[in-house]
């Protein structure tokens, strides 16, 4: 069982990646954190600008860590930005090859993924967050998890003075405009994919699609709502703080202690 995690270890496959000494040190450190804070530790990895294809491979790496019993702290939160790309979920019928080519001809990439949700756009100025979590450490319910993600983003928007809300359509909205899209995959209680928050995204990319398949509604961004430029760099720590509050977890940046990371976020 992972220190700091009260959930079950996912069924694991053994790997030999030379983790042993590092794992022992991290296990000791994180067990101390758990005892002192009573919170599940979640590592934060900032990938910066990364190709969508690479981000998929990186997510698979962190998913595999959850099934590696030698890794004591597999819960990870990935932050990144992508070059222009359209992605669709597990319902591919609505997006045939012709539609895929039309979007590629506009200069974007196109990926079919295993997440929920319909079509969306990722690009520069959009903060993308991929929590790779074992829900056994939190609550074993996908419905609960998605709700917590929505509350995290609403909380984060409120810190910017923006009144955001949920609607019958999953995601986070400011009025009739979506500010953050959500699309998740869950296998053996391990989550992947996540959320995409428009900071200073070029929203015209969304005009080429019906975002999330919802006709009659628009998109917005932090910059549009606040009337000033809000970068992903400005938004990221605010999102992380909201995440740690909503999930009652302890975020740890690589090689930082939990206390140091919390001080950075405050």
């Amino acid at each position: 069982m992972s220190p700091g995690c009260t959930g079950d270890q996912p069924q694991s496959a053994s790997t030999s990646e030379g983790w042993q000494d590092h794992a022992n040190l991290r296990a000791f450190r994180f067990s101390k954190i758990k005892m002192s804070l009573g919170k599940t530790p979640v590592s934060v990895v900032n990938l910066g600008r990364v190709a969508y294809r690479s981000a998929l491979q990186i997510q698979q790496h962190y998913i595999r860590q959850h099934f590696d019993s030698s890794n004591p702290t597999p819960n990870t939160l990935l932050l990144c930005e992508h070059s222009p790309v359209y992605t669709v979920g597990i319902r591919p019928v609505q997006y045939p090859a012709e539609e895929e080519q039309r979007l590629k001809d506009l200069g974007a990439d196109f990926f079919r993924t295993n997440r929920g949700g319909l079509i969306t756009f990722h690009g520069p100025g959009q903060l993308v967050c991929y929590p790779i979590l074992n829900l056994g450490c939190f609550k074993k319910s996908v419905r609960w998890y998605v709700c917590e993600i929505e509350k995290t983003v609403i909380n984060m928007c409120s810190k910017f003075g923006i009144k955001a809300s949920t609607s019958p359509d999953t995601g986070v909205w400011v009025g009739n405009n979506k500010i953050c899209a959500i699309g998740i995959h869950c296998g053996r209680y391990v989550t992947s994919h996540g959320l995409a928050l428009n900071c200073n995204t070029d929203l015209s990319w969304f005009e080429n699609i019906v975002p999330c398949g919802i006709v009659g509604k628009g998109v917005t961004s932090l910059s549009r709502e606040l009337g000033r430029d809000v970068t992903t760099e400005e938004a990221a720590p605010v999102l992380l703080k909201a995440f740690s509050e909503q999930f009652n977890c302890c975020l740890v940046k690589a090689d930082n202690s939990c206390e140091q990371t919390q001080q950075t976020l405050n």
């Binding site: 949700g117 074993k140 319910s141 996908v142 995601g171 959500i182 998740i184 869950c186 296998g187």
Partner: protein, 190 residues
């Protein structure tokens, strides 16, 4: 009116142990009716609240011939005439939320136990499905294409996902029966 709906006492006694296990209310109803006379089958839903055998009228006053077995990933399987019907449990459908899409395999797909065989989408989340047994897919519930909400509304009956052959019947022995699954659910919720 009740005289046309009563089982022989012997059948009631045979039925009581399993019915008490799955529904004390069913047991109470049968005890009351057993004071009347002879047998005719009655609508299952009136007497037995236990899924899924309750859907078969001839099984009302007998122990369910096809009891459910469960996996730790909340799939259930019911074996009848050598064919396994697979679905997800009430606990699972509640944890998912409203199902809006069912991604299911093609007929003829060969599955090993615990293989991923599809996914259910709800609240923008795609959740994997895992095969409870080793076998081959013989039928897919096409009603779910137009009505994926059947998985929520009728998870043990109309919301079944696939039917499959049973290549390794011994695998059933390791799956949880209803009582064990209920204990498992309680352990998760605690």
């Amino acid at each position: 009116m009740f005289s046309s709906f009563c089982p022989p006492v012997a059948d009631v006694l045979l039925f009581l142990p399993s019915c008490c296990r799955c529904s004390p209310l069913s047991a109470l109803l049968l005890l009351m009716l057993s004071s009347f006379c002879p047998p005719v089958a009655a609508p299952a839903s009136l007497f037995c609240l236990c899924p899924p055998a309750a859907s078969h009228p001839s099984l009302i006053f007998h122990c369910p011939a096809a009891a459910l077995k469960y996996t730790d990933k909340h799939e259930w399987v019911r074996v009848e005439d050598g064919v396994g019907t697979v679905g997800i449990s009430k606990f699972a459908q509640e944890a998912l939320g409203d199902v809006v899409y069912c991604g299911l395999p093609d007929v003829g797909t060969k599955l090993s136990q615990s293989d991923e065989f599809g996914a259910l989408e709800s609240v923008k989340a795609a959740s994997e499905l895992y095969s409870p047994l080793t076998g081959e897919v013989t039928e897919v519930n096409n009603a779910l294409s137009d009505n994926p909400g059947l998985v929520n509304k009728s998870c043990y009956k109309d919301g079944w996902l696939i039917k499959m052959t049973i290549s390794v019947p011994e695998e059933l022995d390791a799956l949880m029966d209803e009582a064990a699954y209920e204990r498992y659910i309680r352990s998760i919720e605690d």
